[in-house]
Structure formats: structure tokens, C-alpha cells
């Protein structure tokens, strides 16, 4: 007879077999047996957070920057409900998370027991799948399946709810059979014919554009390499969504910058005027498309995505290639080379005019802002931060709001997995705990959270985690005392009625840093900025940087409500003729 293990031991045996190195968690009554077992498994390190939401975002940061699934361990009731925001965030941005939650003993389920909640019910709409383990015999199978579901296809979060009696119950354990192929199921459903069709479209296009997204990042670093090869082979321009930044080098000449609501003038105009739009691992999010009826009206549209339900969900496309981005792009490149179609040369004439047009748009210099000697402009702060850290392999996380858009616009990424931001759900408070997770995955690298003072206060308690584990994360706060994006919309859409968007009583971030046991730095004037940033980067330990910026700065360019891609507000000088009126105020 094989040896018997408790449910808690089984949990760790499964995590070991899945090569899990870190768990982000917080103990509580219903997970005590699992925590009791932790000491016997020294290959698995537990990171104690200060709030379960922080555990979830830290696991997201870990997953996004390392390509491995993030593992979260929380207790029943409030432990589970606190992690819901992070699960939803991971679901929206396709981040693989495995969340293990404790549950009250089986016989108490449904009795409104202490710290009981319907965890699988609550998390059903924000996970790819979830399980309530009712028999310890099913436990190992379920945990291994959970990892499979989280990491295959379009990645996402899953949750395994384990009642306390199951954690004590004993059962045998056998190692999982490692499936080489997912029951022969491949996510790829495209044929050579589809590839040929695409290449034909590319051959005939005069105004092509690639629009790449987070799918390229999720497909692994190799996908970014193949993407670069494809762009090189074709000579086509490329733009990227917020989540896709870093898949293609941000400083390359063929890169038009980010597109969408706060994207560049050239990227959005190219999207509007193109005759061939090739979407690579993006999902036509509403912040990208703007007004659907007038979205890229003259183009043939191609969509490459691993998730069949993404195809034709928002924008009808002419050609869909369902599959892993890496595999699809490889097939395209292979065919391009085999047919010896050097599109770059043969197309040079054809798309030369297109590039001329793009250069014209570029001269608008849409990311331009009026700098100042008196106050620090937030864009300037991000630019200086970029210039002073670009020689290092820097990882950047953000919170949500103006600072996030400025970071996306002015910080250039050259590698995938270096940029972690909450795009789909737009979770304020994401960046700080995410930075904790990133630093865990990359202990020697420079990790910066470009933050807003409002967002960062939502999960500030995780500084305590950073201090506990000596994680030298840098919290670079663009402090404008406002919920900046709310303030901007109120200025543009609500007659400058700044209702509740000003924070009256902000903490002294320097003292706060000291209270947490880390370093606080403050910058007020543009001329001290460089020196202070250097001080932050060189300090070996966590830093909270209070960068006092102009409180009235708005984030431009911006596609205002009611307008398509080719009608953007470029900045203060252009604002006058772009008044937003009437129903245009009904922004989501």
C-alpha cells in the first residue's frame, strides 16, 4: 500500500510537481493545516503579504514578468473575497494565476459558519474555472488540472477551494502523468491556406499596419522575436496596445507608438487610414477602437488570436487565424521566406507613400508637452526616469490613471515582460504589489512602480511586505494631489466641476516611507529631479519617491468622446476646436 498523505501535504506535493517556487498568501483559520505543512517544503517560499488583494496582484506581477503561473494562498470568507479584485484583474488581462483558498469544513458548508462564503459562487465569473474539493481523493487531480487550465490556451486565473476537513483527510498520492500534448488538443486552428491568404493580402496592400497586443507577451519571449522578424521582413509599420508594449522595441523606427485613447497621432491615424490591419494577439478593446462604426473604415482586417471567442466579438474581420501567436507568426515567416517574397524590397515602392504619410503625422510630435523650469511636468519626470534607467534591464509596473498613460507614452520598452500594468480592469492599487511580485521573480533587477498618489494609497500596506523581504522596489509617485484622470475628464466633460477628485489630506510620503522602514525621497523642482532619481536608483532598498508634479497637467493626445481615430485632441493649443458636447459626455 502506498503511503498516505494529508490533504495539506498533497497540496504541497502538487505545487512541488508543478515547480512552484513562491506562494503569495495570508494565513487564517481555514488554511491553517496548509500553513502548518509549509515548514516541511523548503523549495517553496511563502511571501506574506498585508492584504489578500496584494497577494493576488503580486502573483500577477510575478506571472507577467516571469512567464510562470502565480500562486496565491488565502483563507476562507474575507480572505477569498479580498482576492476577488485581483482575480478579476488577471481574468481581464489573461494572467495565469492559481489561487488556493481555504473553506470551512464540509459539514459546515451552507450553515453560515464563521468566515464562510460561497467562494466558488463568488469567483465563478472572474476565473477561467474553479473547483470546490469535496473528496480528498480528487485533490491532486484537481490541483494539477487547475495549473493546466490556468496556463494553457488563453491564460487566466483559476481557484481551488479546499475545506478544512479535506486538508486533514488522508489519501495516497501519485505523480501526474505529464501530457506532452493536451490530449492531442492544440490551440492552433489555422491552415496553410489561411497563411497564404494573409500573405496575398500583404502583397496587395499599399497601407498596411500591424497592431499587436498582450497575446504576443503571453505567447512567450520567442513570440516577440518572431514578431520582430516579421516586421523586419515586411517593412510594415507596427503599433501596440497598452498590454503589448515591449514585444516590439519602443525606440525602433518602424514602431509608431501606442494606439488608442491616449495613443500617438501617427498610430491612430495609420489605424484609421490603413487598407490592411493585422491584429496580432489583441482584442479590439473599446479604449483602442473608439467609435466602432468609424473604426478603420477602409481596411481589410486580419485577426490572430488564441481565443476563438475574440474573433468577431467587437470588430468583424475578413480573415481569422486562431492559434498561438508564436506558431502563427512562425508559419507566416516561414512561408514568406519559402516563397522568397522579400516583401520589404518588393513592397518598398508600394508602401513608400504610406511611410511618407506616416512621417508627416509624426511631425505633429503628438507626445509633446510644454516643459517648465518652475514645476516638474509629469511627462518630463517619466522621460528623465527613462533616460536614467534605460541602460539597465528595468521592470516597470504602474497603477491606473494619468501616470499610467504617461508611463506608456514616454517610457520605451525593448523587451517583453518588462511592463506590468492593469489594462482591462483598470485596478488602482495594482502597481505596488505587482512590483513586489516582479522583484521576487527578478531579485537583482531594478523594479519601478510608476504610481499616482491616489492609486498607491489603495495598497500602500504592501510596503511592509517589501521591507520584510528586502525587496528594493522603487515607488515613483507622480504626486499631483488629484485623481488626475478623473480631474481631466471633469475638466473636459463636466465644466471643471472637480467633484471629489482632490485629495485634501495626503500623507507625508517621506515620513510614511520612514515609518515603513524604507527610504523616502522628495523632488519639488525640475533641476533637482535627475539627482534625486539617481539617488533612488542607487539606493539598495525600497524607496518611496514623492515627485511633486504640476497638478493641472492633462494627458494628451486623447481621442475625445464621439470621435474616431483621426480626430484627436493634441494638446492645450488645439483643445478649443474640439469641444465635447451633448451626448459625447456619456463616456463609460
Amino acid at each position: 500500500m502506498s503511503k498516505l498523505y494529508s490533504g495539506a501535504e498533497i497540496v504541497f506535493k502538487c505545487l512541488e510537481d508543478q515547480d512552484v517556487e513562491f506562494i503569495f498568501g495570508y494565513p487564517g483559520g481555514a488554511v491553517l493545516p496548509i500553513y502548518d505543512e509549509l515548514k516541511n517544503h523548503d523549495t517553496i517560499k511563502h511571501i506574506l503579504v498585508r492584504h489578500e488583494q496584494g497577494a493576488g496582484h503580486a502573483a500577477e506581477g510575478y506571472a507577467r514578468s516571469s512567464g510562470k503561473p502565480g500562486v496565491v494562498l488565502v483563507t476562507s470568507g474575507p480572505g477569498a473575497t479580498n482576492v476577488v479584485t485581483a482575480l478579476t484583474d488577471a481574468y481581464m488581462d489573461s494572467v495565469p494565476l492559481v489561487c488556493i483558498s481555504g473553506q470551512v469544513p464540509t459539514h459546515l458548508i451552507g450553515t453560515d459558519a464563521f468566515q464562510e462564503c460561497d467562494t466558488t459562487g463568488i469567483t465563478r465569473p472572474c476565473t477561467k474555472h474553479n473547483w470546490l474539493v469535496k473528496d480528498v481523493k480528487d485533490l491532486s487531480k484537481i490541483i494539477h488540472e487547475a495549473f493546466k487550465v490556468a496556463t494553457t490556451g488563453r491564460p487566466g486565473p483559476v481557484l481551488v477551494d479546499i475545506p478544512k476537513d479535506i486538508q486533514f483527510a488522508k489519501v495516497g498520492y501519485s505523480k501526474p502523468k505529464i501530457e506532452k500534448k493536451l490530449n492531442g488538443k492544440s490551440p492552433n486552428h489555422f491552415s496553410q491556406k489561411d497563411i497564404d491568404k494573409l500573405i496575398d493580402l500583404m502583397n496587395h496592400s499599399k497601407k498596411p499596419i500591424f497592431y499587436s497586443g498582450g497575446g504576443v507577451i503571453n505567447s512567450g519571449p520567442e513570440a516577440s522575436n518572431v514578431l520582430r522578424e516579421l516586421v523586419e521582413l515586411t517593412g510594415f509599420p507596427i503599433t501596440s496596445t497598452l498590454q503589448g508594449l515591449g514585444a516590439y522595441p519602443g525606440d525602433d523606427n518602424q514602431f509608431l507608438g501606442m494606439l488608442g485613447m491616449h495613443g500617438t497621432y501617427e498610430a491612430n491615424n495609420a489605424m484609421h487610414d490603413c487598407d490592411l490591419l493585422i491584429n496580432i494577439g489583441a482584442r479590439f478593446d473599446d479604449r483602442i477602437t473608439g467609435k466602432i462604426d468609424e473604426f478603420s473604415p477602409k481596411s481589410k482586417k486580419v485577426h490572430i488570436d488564441i481565443d476563438p471567442s475574440s474573433i468577431n466579438k467587437i470588430i468583424k474581420v475578413d480573415l481569422a487565424l486562431v492559434g498561438d501567436v508564436k506558431d502563427v507568426l512562425k508559419s507566416i515567416n516561414k512561408t514568406l521566406k519559402k516563397k522568397n517574397l522579400d516583401l520589404k524590397k518588393s513592397n518598398k515602392q508600394k508602401i513608400a507613400k504610406w511611410w511618407e504619410q506616416i512621417q508627416k503625422w509624426r511631425t505633429k510630435n503628438s507626445l509633446h508637452f510644454k516643459n517648465s523650469d518652475e514645476t516638474i511636468k509629469p511627462q518630463h519626470a517619466v522621460q528623465r526616469l527613462y533616460e536614467l534607467t534605460k541602460h539597465k534591464d528595468t521592470f516597470v509596473t504602474t497603477e491606473v490613471g494619468q501616470h499610467q498613460m504617461w508611463a506608456a507614452q514616454h517610457y520605451k520598452f525593448n523587451k517583453p515582460n518588462r511592463w506590468m500594468t492593469s489594462g482591462g480592469l483598470g485596478t488602482m492599487g495594482y502597481g505596488l504589489p505587482a512590483a513586489v511580485g516582479v522583484q521576487i521573480a527578478h531579485p537583482k533587477k531594478l523594479v519601478i512602480d510608476i504610481a499616482g498618489e491616489a492609486s498607491v494609497l489603495m495598497t500602500m500596506q504592501e510596503m511592509s511586505t517589501a521591507v520584510q523581504y528586502n525587496l528594493p522596489i522603487k515607488i515613483f509617485i507622480l504626486n499631483n494631489q488629484y485623481m488626475g484622470m478623473v480631474r481631466q475628464w471633469q475638466e473636459l466633460l463636466h465644466e471643471k466641476n472637480y467633484s471629489e477628485s482632490y485629495s485634501e489630506a495626503l500623507p507625508d510620503f517621506i515620513k510614511m516611507a520612514e515609518a515603513y522602514g524604507c527610504k523616502g525621497i522628495k523632488a519639488d523642482k525640475p533641476d533637482e529631479l535627475d539627482e534625486k532619481i539617481k539617488e533612488m536608483v542607487e539606493f539598495d532598498g525600497p524607496v518611496i519617491f514623492d515627485c511633486r508634479v504640476d497638478p493641472n497637467e492633462n494627458c494628451f493626445p486623447m481621442i475625445p468622446s464621439g470621435k474616431p481615430h483621426n480626430q484627436m485632441i493634441l494638446g492645450p493649443s488645439e483643445k478649443e476646436d474640439n469641444k465635447i458636447t451633448g451626448k459625447g459626455k456619456a463616456l463609460v
Binding site: 466558488t120 459562487g121 465563478r124 465569473p125 477561467k128 474555472h129 470546490l132 469535496k134 487550465v149 485613447m261 473599446d286 479604449r287 473608439g290 467609435k291 466602432i292 462604426d293 481565443d307 476563438p308 471567442s309 474573433i311 468577431n312 466579438k313 468583424k316 481621442i559 475625445p560 468622446s561 464621439g562 470621435k563 474616431p564 465635447i580 458636447t581 451633448g582 451626448k583 459625447g584 459626455k585 456619456a586 463616456l587 463609460v588
Partner: protein, 182 residues
């Protein structure tokens, strides 16, 4: 601008909605119905009727039949989203007016009244395979199987014959001929 609508919340031109019958084969496990129904409510799809029962005890498979309405784009999304659910094995979709598919619903009518009225009620039900399930001096329970609109019609016309209670199922569907949906 002629039509200043919001760029981020305007729905595009509405296509025509059609009624479809979606058949879903799922693992018969705890919470599976909640996953399917939650998907519909969470994404704003509507459910006109629902029928669900285990059809294969050995393989532990249940068959869920859902009647829904939607534009072609919405129906496509429903199918694709359903296929993403882990316990879902396969999804079939039929248009309500598909001649190659049989649709049936069942209804129970309780009629209370004198013999004459009850007789008339039974007569009215005859063309829908009426079965008398319970009989007393003052009442009858009649079972019919028919299409939704036929049951609607009967429910209306039986009122004058002493109909006091109706219980009905959602539609179930099956293809005609020897074909099996795979």
C-alpha cells in the same frame, strides 16, 4: 459634428434578432448549470426557456437545451463562450424554423369544473397528444406535448374550460433522420 455620440459606449447598428435553440453537452457536476446560466446573465444574453437533465449516466453527461434570441453576432458569441467553459463538451445551435430539427415542450394543465367543461378541455387538447394523468369527479390533469406557441394558445383557450394551474417545461430538441450532432 453632426451626431455627437460617445465614442466609447455607442452600440453599432442593430442587426435582426433570431430565435435559436442552443444545445450544450456538459459534465454533470456541481455548479455546472450555474456556470452556463451565469454566462448568459453575466454577458447580457437572454434565456427564453431552459431544459436540463442527465442523458448519459455512465459518462456522467447532462444535456442542456436553451432557447435564446440574438443577432448572428451574439449567437456566435454565445456558442464560442460556452465552448470555453471547462465542463462543456460540445455545443449545437439550431434556428427555431429549422425543418430538420424537432422541438418539443411539455405542459401539464389542471382543469377544475363540471364533466362537460372537462370533456371540452380534453377535446381541445386532443391534437397535442393529450394524456390524462389524473382524474376526479371535479378535475383532470392533462399532459400535452407541443410547440411553445401551441402551448401558449392552449393555455389561453382552456381558461374558459376551468384551467386553474399550468406547469410547463422548456423546449427540448433533436435532429430528424439518422444524423447525430457531433
Amino acid at each position: 459634428m453632426a451626431n455627437p455620440k460617445s465614442a466609447y459606449s455607442v452600440s453599432s447598428k442593430k442587426e435582426k434578432s433570431d430565435t435559436h435553440i442552443i444545445v450544450v453537452w456538459v459534465d454533470n457536476e456541481a455548479g455546472v448549470l450555474a456556470r452556463v446560466v451565469g454566462l448568459f446573465s453575466g454577458r447580457g444574453y437572454n434565456i427564453e426557456s431552459l431544459a436540463v437533465a442527465e442523458v448519459d449516466a455512465k459518462r456522467n453527461i447532462s444535456r442542456i437545451t436553451i432557447v435564446t434570441t440574438g443577432t448572428p453576432q451574439v449567437i456566435d458569441q454565445i456558442k464560442l463562450q460556452l465552448k470555453k467553459l471547462v465542463p462543456v463538451h460540445k455545443v449545437a445551435d439550431f434556428k427555431r424554423n429549422d425543418k430538420g430539427v424537432i422541438f418539443k415542450e411539455m405542459a401539464l394543465f389542471k382543469v377544475v369544473g363540471n364533466t362537460n367543461k372537462i370533456k371540452k378541455a380534453i377535446n381541445a387538447c386532443k391534437k397535442y397528444d393529450a394524456v390524462i394523468l389524473d382524474k376526479t369527479k371535479k378535475s383532470n390533469v392533462i399532459q400535452i406535448t407541443a410547440l411553445r406557441r401551441e402551448i401558449d394558445k392552449m393555455a389561453k383557450s382552456l381558461r374558459k374550460f376551468g384551467l386553474v394551474s399550468i406547469s410547463r417545461t422548456g423546449a427540448v430538441a433533436m435532429t430528424r433522420g439518422d444524423k447525430v450532432f457531433n
